[in-house]
Amino acid sequence: MIAIVKYNAGNIYSVVHALRRLGVEPLVTDDVETLHAADKVIFPGVGEASTTMAYLQAKGLDRTILSLKQPVLGICLGMQLMCRYSHEGGVDCLGIFDTEVKRFEPQPGLKIPHMGWNQIYRLQSPLFASTRENDFVYFVHSYYVPLCDHTAAVCDYPTPFSAALHKDNFHATQFHPEKSGDIGSRILNEFIRL
């Protein structure tokens, strides 16, 4: 059973629909026992970092996510919250990935948020087993994770940043596989098959 962490994230139902299109019926829950019992857990996210962290802490979901042993997939804000610290609202996050989350610096000609289809490369995680170098995926974000030891895919905007992270059972994508057409479906499918 695949569980999706239920909280005030904007894209939960996009993720549900994407899994259904792959023939999987996920369970959306904030119940700690159910999350622990799931085969896999998806931690989605669209929203603001500091208010979302406060919500997770109030519900005890921060400790739950940290303690999960099964494969976990963080998406977008979910990935950022799995890092050590976010400059969005200046908040300590879960610390699974020992890196900070920074804001794109405004510069002439650079549109913020980074919105649209961009290429990922240096793919280094089982999630990308059926993805090719330089395939396009869909991003929407104003904050980013710099390159670090856990970087599992790179994207340029215009400086290289982490498009995906991987450490032990924890996987994460800055882009939205649930909105990335066929490529996104393949990435979600690889996660389902882990």
Binding site: G10, Y13, S14, H17, A18, R20, R21, V46, G47, E48, P106, L110, K111, I112, P113, H114, M115, G116, W117, N118, Q119, F136, Y138, V140, D156, Y157, E178, K179, S180, G181, D182, G184, S185
Partner: protein, 251 residues
């Protein structure tokens, strides 16, 4: 590299697409969900669905359509038409839309943009602007489907929309719309120069070169079109091949 986006726009009335379509071997020509799926498979980067229904029942039908699109389409989509207050935005996002576009209601009540951005984030708020060039370089915003002129000017309104938190500007040139002789590239380039949010070009697509020019001369981040796609005059996969050969980054 960030790709330039190609966005087909579908008008929906009482749950069905309005403009005719010309897909070969395509039975449910009027079903917006099937059409959206076809466009997605052909390589569209995003979709826009505009509700042009006037009745209360039609509106409810549209929410069902949005729900079905969200379930069936795996690329981002925007819905617009009849988004008048924050409640409408919540309904559309709740049904699964990724973004909403606001037009007349935002010109009437600019606070709506601030409220959408504040409650749901800038990335969901597309500010659609219909404008007409009434003297060289002098663009006036129109409301009610381009029927009623307002006192607002395109560039200052686009600036205000950005300041209030709009995530994108969808600019339709009324001078170019339906003429099929290219987008309003000078005005697009000026929007690009003056704004820090993405600009979607709309109105004027007739040939593939028009898309190229919107990106190279107009510096648009995305180009929207309706009839050239619906009538099969331009196929999205062929358009993308063409743009690639013109050294434009597309998916």
């Amino acid at each position: 590299m960030l790709a330039k986006r190609i966005i087909p726009c579908l008008d929906v009335k009482d749950g069905m697409t309005v403009k005719g379509v010309n897909f070969v071997n395509f039975r449910n020509a009027g079903d917006p969900v099937e059409l959206g799926r076809q466009y997605s498979e052909a390589g569209a980067d995003e979709l826009v669905f505009l509700d042009i229904t006037a009745t209360f029942e039609g509106r409810k039908t549209f929410v069902d359509v949005v729900r079905r699109i969200a379930a069936g389409v795996s690329i981002p989509f925007t819905v617009g038409g009849g988004i008048n207050e924050l409640k409408d935005v919540a309904t559309m996002l709740g049904a699964g839309a990724d973004k909403v576009s606001v037009n007349s209601a935002a010109l009437k009540n600019p606070q709506l943009i601030s409220d959408i951005a504040g409650n749901f984030g800038s990335q969901v708020c597309v500010c659609a602007i219909d404008a007409k060039e009434e003297a060289p370089g002098d663009w006036t915003c129109y409301v009610a489907g381009g029927h009623i002129p307002t006192g607002r000017k395109l560039f200052e309104w686009a600036h205000e929309a950005q300041e209030r938190g709009a995530g994108e500007i969808l600019f339709t040139s009324m001078n170019h719309d339906g003429v099929k002789c290219g987008y309003a590239n000078e005005a697009l380039a000026r929007l690009h120069d003056e704004l820090s949010i993405p600009v979607i070009a709309s109105g004027g697509a007739g040939r593939m070169v028009d898309f190229r020019d919107a990106f190279t001369l107009g510096h648009a981040d995305a180009a929207l079109a309706a009839s050239v796609f619906h009538f099969g005059e331009i196929k999205i996969d062929e358009l993308k091949d063409y743009l690639r050969k013109q050294n434009i980054c597309v998916r």
